[in-house]
C-alpha cells in the first residue's frame, strides 16, 4: 500500500493509520496559553545552563555546534587561573557540516543540533563521530584514561588502544572500550543502546557487567544498569524474553519464568550462548539451574566447572567457562 495517506492524507486511506488516528486523536493538544509572567531581560547566558545551551545552539548563524564551558561562555577557559598546558591543547573537533574546526578541552560540552555532526579526535587513540541532536562532554584526558560523558544522542567510536583506556559515561551505565568500534545511543530518559561493530565493549554499572562482542547489542536503563547482550539478528522472541529477564521486577516470578522458558527454547548454539551466559547472575535458584542446563547443552563446561559451582556463581568457574565459549562470541 502506498504511504500517501500517511504522508498527507491523499489517496486511499490506510486502515491501520485511520484506526490509530481515531484511537489517538483524543490525546490531541487543546490546551490554552497559560497566564504569562513578566519577561526576562534580554541577556544571553542567564538562567539555566541547559536553556542557555539550547538558546545558544540556535543563535550562532550557520554553525550548528556549540562549545560551552559549563555553564557560562567559553571565556571561563581563558579565565582559568591554573591553566594546564597540554601538547594538543584539547581534542580536535571537525564539524562535518563544513563549519571548520575547534578544540574540545576538559569540562567542555559539545552539542549538535538536528542537522549537524562532528568528528572528534580522541587523543591519539581513535575517533568519535557525534550524530545530530547530541550532547557530549570531555570528562578527562590523560595517559591513564580518556573519558567522555554522553548525556543524550548518538556517537560512533573507533578506538585502537589497550583495554579500559577509553570510557564513555551515560546516565545508566559506563561503556568501557576493550579495543573496538561501536555505536552508543543515549535517549533522553537516560536509557542507552550499545551496538558493537568490531572487538568487544563492556558495559558496567554497580558491579553488573555485560560484555558485548562484535555484531551484538545491549541496552541499559537508568537505575537498572545493563541488560543482557544479544546478537542483532537474534529472534524477536529471544530479545523480548531477555528484556523481561533483565528489567522486569524481581518479584514478577511468573512473567520471568515464562520469559526464561522462552529464552531457553529459542536460543541456538553457539552464538546465543552469549546471552545465556549473561543470564546466569540475573536469575536465582531453580531459574539459574535451568539456565545452566541449557547453556551446558550448548557449550559443555570445561573440567573443573560444576553445576553446584555455577549455582553459587563461583568466579573461577564462571571465568573458565567464559574462556571456553568466548571464542564463538
Amino acid at each position: 500500500m502506498s504511504d500517501d495517506y500517511l504522508w498527507d492524507r491523499s489517496g486511499r486511506p490506510d486502515p491501520d493509520v485511520r484506526e490509530l488516528e481515531d484511537l489517538l486523536g483524543g490525546l490531541r493538544y487543546d490546551g490554552a496559553l497559560p497566564e504569562l509572567p513578566p519577561q526576562d531581560a534580554a541577556s544571553a547566558g542567564g538562567g539555566s545552563p541547559l536553556l542557555a545551551m539550547a538558546a545558544a545552539a540556535l543563535l550562532t548563524a550557520g554553525a550548528a555546534l556549540l562549545f560551552s564551558a559549563r555553564p557560562a561562555a567559553p571565556d571561563t577557559r581563558v579565565a582559568n587561573p591554573t591553566p594546564k598546558p597540554t601538547p594538543t591543547a584539547g581534542w580536535k573537533v571537525d564539524w562535518l557540516s563544513g563549519e571548520g574546526a575547534a578544540r574540545l578541552q576538559v569540562g567542555d560540552w559539545i552539542e549538535t543540533d538536528t542537522r549537524s555532526r562532528a568528528r572528534i579526535q580522541v587523543a591519539t587513540i581513535g575517533k568519535v563521530e557525534l550524530e545530530p541532536s547530541s550532547r557530549l562532554r570531555l570528562v578527562a584526558t590523560d595517559p591513564k584514561q580518556h573519558r567522555l560523558e554522553l548525556a543524550v544522542g548518538k556517537l560512533h567510536a573507533r578506538v585502537t588502544a589497550p583495554p579500559r583506556l577509553f570510557l564513555v559515561d551515560t546516565p545508566s551505565a559506563q561503556t568501557v572500550d576493550l579495543g573496538c568500534e561501536y555505536t552508543l545511543t543515549v535517549a533522553e530518559d537516560g536509557a542507552s543502546l550499545l551496538e558493537v561493530r568490531l572487538g568487544f565493549v563492556a558495559f558496567e554499572w554497580k558491579g553488573l557487567e555485560a560484555i558485548v562482542p562484535r555484531g551484538a547489542r545491549c541496552e541499559t536503563r537508568p537505575g537498572q544498569g545493563p541488560g543482557i547482550p544479544h546478537y542483532r539478528d537474534a529472534p524477536l522472541e529471544l530479545r523480548q524474553a531477555l528484556e523481561v529477564l533483565a528489567f522486569a521486577p524481581a518479584d514478577a516470578l511468573r512473567q520471568r519464568k515464562l520469559a526464561l522458558l522462552r529464552a531457553i527454547g529459542v536460543a541456538r548454539a553457539p552464538r546465543d550462548a552469549l546471552s545465556l551466559w549473561h543470564l546466569l547472575p540475573r536469575v536465582r535458584g531453580p531459574f539459574r539451574r535451568k539456565a545452566y542446563a541449557a547453556l551446558a547443552r550448548m557449550v559443555p563446561p570445561p573440567p573443573g566447572v560444576t553445576a553446584e559451582g555455577i549455582q553459587t556463581l563461583d568466579r573461577t568457574m564462571l571465568a573458565a567457562w567464559k574462556d571456553q565459549m568466548e571464542w564463538s562470541w
Binding site: L23, R28, Y29, P171
Partner: protein, 175 residues
Amino acid sequence: MSKSPEEALLVRAAQGGDREAFARLHATYAPWVHAIALARVPRHEVDDLVQEVLITAWRRVRTLRDPAAFGGWLGQIARNRAIDFHRRRRANAPLPDELATKRSGAETHARVNEALEAIRALPEAYRETLILRLVEGWTGPEIAARTGLTAGSVRVNLHRGMALLREKLGSREAS
C-alpha cells in the same frame, strides 16, 4: 523552523512584550511541544510540562537573536525539560496508570495506552514525527514546515516508524 516573514514579525512582537503575538505562536507550535512531551514523559505529566515550556519560552524569548529559529529553539527547550523531568524522577518510581483520553467512552484505556507505549518504544527519530501525525493531526508537509526537518526526512520517518509500529502492535496481538 519559522520561515515566513509574518512569523518572524510575530516573534519580534513577542520579544517586545506582545502577548497576543505570543498567543498566535502558541497556536502554531504548542502541538509540537505537546508531541515532544508525549513522546518522552508519562501522560499525566505532559500538560504540566507543556505549560512549563511555554512559560519559559515567553520569559526567555528576548534572548533569541534569530526569529527564524523560534520553532527549533522552542523544541529544544521542550526536549531539555523532558530530560530534566527524568533526572528529577526517582529511579524505579512506580508510575500511575495512564489517564483516559477524552473519548474513553469510545476507546478503552488499554488500547490507547498500548498504542502510545508502542510509539514511545520506537527509535527517537520516529516517535515525535508519528505523534505529530497520528495524535496532533499534522500532515507530513506541515511537520516539515514547522519542525525544520526536510520533507524527505519526515516522509522516511513516517514510513519507517509506521512499519515498526505495525510490527509491534501486530506482534502483541499475535501473542
